[in-house]
């Protein structure tokens, strides 16, 4: 029996879909059987971020309405054989599925997969209720902004009401240079408010934009900083204790200095 995790945030645009794509791909890379479920019906994106849009024939709504079997709707990833996507319907709305149906669906998927990751839509309405219905645990994604943290706090409360306790937090798009100057909330500020367990910190990274547009999750890119952050998150989900990334200043001078110091040591 696998584990279902909902990735949610309240606020839109903080990186839920990117997080689901990267954690899912990362887990599959280390050999886990993973199913990604896009619960954002009517505004599906996960297929695009995964680069699988052109393979969609059936979707989640077709499954719950009984037009096809769950197997026919699952799309195998083009890179990893043990990674699957259940896409959302684009031409329907959130109320086309009920929380009970989602729960049944996720339960069924848990029998086949080690991890079922549900990509939750922004907001706290029907779409949110659907996405959290079948979840065993939750990951909350936020950015170090007051508004995103405020929404994340609201989500923690709503998850408690759904009996999902102890959600884990990912702080996305952190800019160490700005934090150092005091222009951005730092990790401690965010943790102070939310008081939940930190799962990972993902630095702001231009390569994410490139990888998202290309449909290739950053976690596959060995050189990407954010990819490294996601690989660490994957290991933490697997129960390993991994120290948080030292998010240093990445200016050219600092990088050169670091290069020399490494060169000097060896």
């Amino acid at each position: 029996m696998g584990k279902s995790i909902v990735v949610t945030s309240g606020k839109g645009g903080v990186g839920k879909t990117t997080t689901v794509a990267n954690i899912g791909t990362g887990l599959a890379q280390i050999g886990r059987r993973v199913c990604l479920v896009d619960a954002d019906i009517g505004l599906r994106n996960l297929d695009v971020v995964m680069g699988l849009e052109n393979r969609i024939v059936y979707d989640l709504i077709d499954v719950v309405e009984g037009h096809c079997r769950i197997r026919s709707a699952l799309i195998k990833d083009k890179r990893l054989d043990n990674l699957f996507l259940l896409p959302a319907a684009q031409t329907r709305e959130k109320d086309a599925v009920s929380p009970e149906q989602m729960k049944t669906l996720v339960e069924e998927l848990k029998n086949e997969f080690d991890y079922v990751l549900v990509d939750c839509p922004a907001g706290i309405e029907q779409g949110f209720r659907n996405a959290v219905a079948g979840a065993d645990t939750a990951i909350i994604v936020t950015t170090p902004e007051v508004s995103a943290v405020r929404d994340a706090d609201r989500i923690v409360g709503l998850l408690e009401a759904c009996e999902l306790y102890e959600p884990q937090l990912i702080i996305n798009r952190l800019r160490p240079d700005m934090v150092r100057k005091g222009d951005m909330m730092n990790t401690d500020d965010v943790i102070d408010i939310l008081a939940i367990k930190l799962l990972g910190i993902v630095p702001d990274d231009e390569s994410i934009i490139v990888s998202t547009n290309r449909g290739e999750p950053a976690v596959l890119d060995r050189k990407s900083m954010s990819g490294q952050a996601f690989r660490n998150i994957v290991r933490r989900l697997e129960g390993e204790s991994v120290p948080f990334l030292p998010l240093e200043d990445n200016s050219v001078v600092k990088r050169l200095l670091r290069l020399f110091s490494i060169g000097g040591r060896s």
């Binding site: 849009e53 052109n54 969609i56 024939v57 083009k78 031409t91």
Partner: protein
């Protein structure tokens, strides 16, 4: 309002009132009265032609009609003019099926999340964006860029085709055949192309007018 009991139109001969068949005469009169009353003095002094389509008016009905019209200060024209007016009145009949195929003309861009379903051919004067879907039993013609999903001949017609000025679909389906765009980026098509089923696969060719 249910069925309109009278249609008032301006013609070069004056005002034409068309009374369709199949409605109770009292109802017609009541509606006409209401319409004229709402227009206040707009029609005062106008010459009126009354056309009754295929309805036969009895002498009493005709008298009542004239009375109503005159109440609002309009002048009813002589009978011979009435026939002339009937020519200009439009008859909204369904076009007779003369063996042609049903075709839906869509004058807009189909955006993500929008879906067109039609029993027949579909012509789109606009684009079909990624995430949009066009499904029909006949051919699909996109006079624009097709980037979404197109399914022609969805009830099993393998002879259906998909045509577009720029054919860059996410996925193409014809009858029971499915093909998807390649994962690598392809050079953009330079001209109109069409897709059809050839040897059990969907084949895309450049469009030349002589082929059709």
């Amino acid at each position: 309002m249910a069925k309109e009991a009278c249609i008032i139109k301006g013609t070069k001969h004056g005002i034409s009132i068309l009374i369709p068949s199949g409605l109770d005469f009292a109802e017609v009169l009541a509606q006409l009265r209401a319409r004229l009353a709402s227009a206040q003095e707009f029609f005062t002094g106008a010459t009126v032609y009354v056309s009754t389509a295929d309805r036969e008016l009895g002498p009493e009905e005709k008298r009542q009609l004239e009375q109503t019209v005159e109440e609002f200060g309009m002048v009813i024209s002589k009978k011979e003019d009435l026939e002339a007016a009937a020519v200009v009145t439009e008859r909204r009949e369904e076009p007779k099926d003369e063996g042609g195929e049903a075709t839906l003309l869509v004058r807009r861009t189909i955006r993500s999340g929008q879906r067109i379903w039609y029993d027949g051919n579909v012509v789109i004067l606009g684009d079909v964006n990624p995430g949009a879907e066009v499904v029909c039993t006949g051919d699909i013609l996109v006079l624009g860029c097709l980037r979404g999903v197109a399914h022609a001949g969805c009830n099993g017609n393998v002879h259906a085709t998909v045509f577009a000025f720029r054919l860059e679909p996410t996925q193409l389906r014809i009858a029971n055949y499915i093909s998807r765009s390649p994962d690598e980026k392809l050079p953009k098509p330079l001209g109109p192309e069409y897709a059809r089923v050839c040897d059990n696969v969907i084949q895309i060719s450049a469009y030349q007018s002589s082929q059709f």
